[in-house]
């Protein structure tokens, strides 16, 4: 939504100016809310109205403002109100709660872009010499005395541009697609990945252990070894089962070649974790040539930035797993800078965690065998996510072919 607060002052009731301005707003195709209204008690006391103009796009907003300005409406242009954080880890009362859309705040009459766009944060403003900087910060980053934006005044949000009718994204829509040609959709994903790399931006892959269970690990490995992926987010499980696959040929004890459970196979994943713990970590295991292939090996060799975030049901975990969730979130926050496209494959937990951190400008694809995961993500505000309901082995195989060529 594009909004602007306007004020009308004077004998706006008797002269029917207020009625006229409101009629004009409606005729211009924009909506409004009356925020404040003081009626002059006598003929010589002026009235005062504050009206929030709400437009679907910047163009209609500017058009409507232009129309009503000619009838005395003044664009109010208030600075954002600032309040200090009362204590570490606490925002001031009435803090502005962010969206994942690009945001500007008005301070000393200047609109300042808010850095590090992230939803469910506060906006901290910092004086820098003569000017100001503003950034989204999560609760735990707030330090007592930091200045935060409170209320809605002086905050402007830029919605995402509409998708062009001929683009693949328009074709896919932003809803969960089940009844769409799948190969065509993977082509669209591959195209987005290529474009991102061409622009010099980074590609983020978020993956769950089903990639290994379904036998799709070699496809992901191929994509990583070819340099397409810059950042990998996963949990203990993806890493463990990948390493189990490399060391024992099984995933959770099931032989990947035959699909049959192996005798004592259930121990393999714990033995794999133990081996890596003994080596000191995944990188060390690669350097010592204990780990000679697999997704984790490929990430180390290709210089991929990995963040492995732990959860309550993890075995081990691997030494590389960050077990403090707040620390893990911060590691993910740091790693998503310059990410232009995110692929989230077969994981609910990590997809939602990542969706919470990404600005809406990041094109996001959520691939899962279950529509629920995809719906959860969009319900939680990651509206930019394209949902693709499909088997992850099919998706990964097709993506590897699209990106790296036929094998």
């Amino acid at each position: 939504m594009h909004t602007e607060l306007i004020t009308l002052d004077g004998h706006i009731i008797d002269s029917l100016t207020l009625s006229k301005v409101l009629d004009m707003l409606i005729a211009s195709g924009v909506d409004y809310e009356i925020r404040e209204f003081r009626i002059g008690k006598s003929h010589d006391v002026p009235s005062h109205a504050e009206i929030l103009v709400i437009a679907p796009d910047e163009e209609s907003l500017q058009h409507a403002l232009h129309e009503v300005q000619q009838h005395g409406a003044v664009i109010s242009q208030k600075d954002a109100a600032l309040q200090p954080a009362p204590q570490d880890g606490v925002f001031p009362d009435g803090f502005y709660s962010t969206t994942n859309l690009q945001t500007f705040v008005r301070i000393d009459g200047t609109w300042i872009p808010v850095e590090r766009t992230e939803m469910d944060c506060g906006i901290r403003v910092i004086r820098t010499g003569a000017g100001w900087r503003a950034e989204c910060v999560p609760l735990h980053w707030a330090k007592q005395g930091d200045l935060f934006v409170v209320g809605n005044a002086g905050v402007r949000v830029t919605p995402m541009p509409r998708r062009e009718a001929e683009s693949v994204f328009h074709f896919m829509g932003s809803e969960v697609s089940i009844e769409k040609p799948k190969t065509r959709i993977v082509q669209a994903v591959a195209h987005a990945v290529r474009e991102t790399k061409l622009k010099g931006q980074r590609v983020l892959f978020v993956g769950g252990p089903a990639i290994v269970h379904t036998g799709a690990a070699p496809y992901l490995e191929r994509i990583i070894r070819s340099g397409w992926i810059d950042v990998l987010f996963a949990g203990n499980a993806l890493a463990t089962h990948d390493i189990e696959r490399v060391l024992y040929g099984t995933s959770l004890g099931v032989a990947l070649e035959t699909g049959a459970p192996e005798t004592h196979g259930h121990e393999h994943h714990l033995r794999a974790i133990n081996t890596i713990r003994a080596a000191g970590g995944i990188r060390q295991a690669v350097e010592k040539r204990i780990l000679k292939s697999g997704i984790m090996h490929a990430c180390v060799v290709a210089g991929v930035k990995m963040v492995l975030a732990g959860s309550i049901r993890d075995d081990g975990p691997l030494p590389d797993v960050i077990t403090d969730t707040v620390q893990a979130q911060d590691a993910m926050r740091e790693a998503i800078q310059d990410v232009g496209v995110a692929l989230m494959v077969a994981t609910t937990l990590h997809s939602i965690a990542t969706g919470n951190l990404l600005p809406a400008s990041v094109t996001t694809f959520c691939i899962d065998a279950s529509a629920d995961t995809v719906i959860k993500l969009t319900d939680r505000g990651s509206h930019q996510a394209f949902g693709i309901v499909t088997d992850c082995a099919f998706f990964m195989k097709e993506l590897a072919t699209q990106l790296c060529g036929e094998e």
Partner: protein, 263 residues
Amino acid sequence: MTRVLMCPPDYYDLRYEINAWMHLENKPDLPLAVQQWRQLYEQVRQLAQIELVPPAYECPDMVFTANAGLIVEEKAVLLSRFRHPERQPEEPHFRRWFEEHGYTVHTMPENCPFEGEGDILWAGERYLAGYRKRTEMCAHRLAAEYLGCEVLSLELVDDRWYHLDTALFVLDGRTVVYYPGAFDRYARRVIEQHYDALYVIEEEALRFACNSVVIGRTLLMPDSCPLVRSLLERKGYEVIPIPMSEFIKSGGACKCLVMFLER
């Protein structure tokens, strides 16, 4: 400082067709080729000491010095024995240069084609060698004897990647960057068992991304290979892209134009 051998492109031209890239109707733009060669030369000069072998008119491909032979000891070279008669006239010119510069020159027996550094590359504890397109297996065995170390043979299966150095380069003693489609599955297994492997995608392999010169932490790479370039930059290497269009018409690029004069 690293020493390398290059050959000025004075007589470079396309006068015959002996690989999948060469087409007589698609001749190189010679002034542009000279410009591209000079650009490579200037970049190599920042990183290595360059020796120049004089060009010969009857040898239009002599500019590709990587195919002259292989240094097997500090002052000994194993001279190439070209598969195609078109390139065999290069042999005496290279032989002369090595002899004049104090090298002992070893040669391969007849019927044992060997195309030097084009098909055999140092890779840490051992050498990797290609066969089936230009060099043959017999040459790997003899090279191993001269080198006194292990040589792993890799089968090349696609005519577009006819020398090992068109499909693979060694980044450091333990990391190999290669285009898997150029090799059979045994070769791929050999590479992956012994090295940390990174891949070049087909479209960049077709732009000769694998034909890169690695000197320390710097790579001289044919241009228009952005994916592998960003991959290597992410690993902390400096990648210098060099236009090579006029040499690719003959099936060569940066690495083919440079021979290392040391083991």
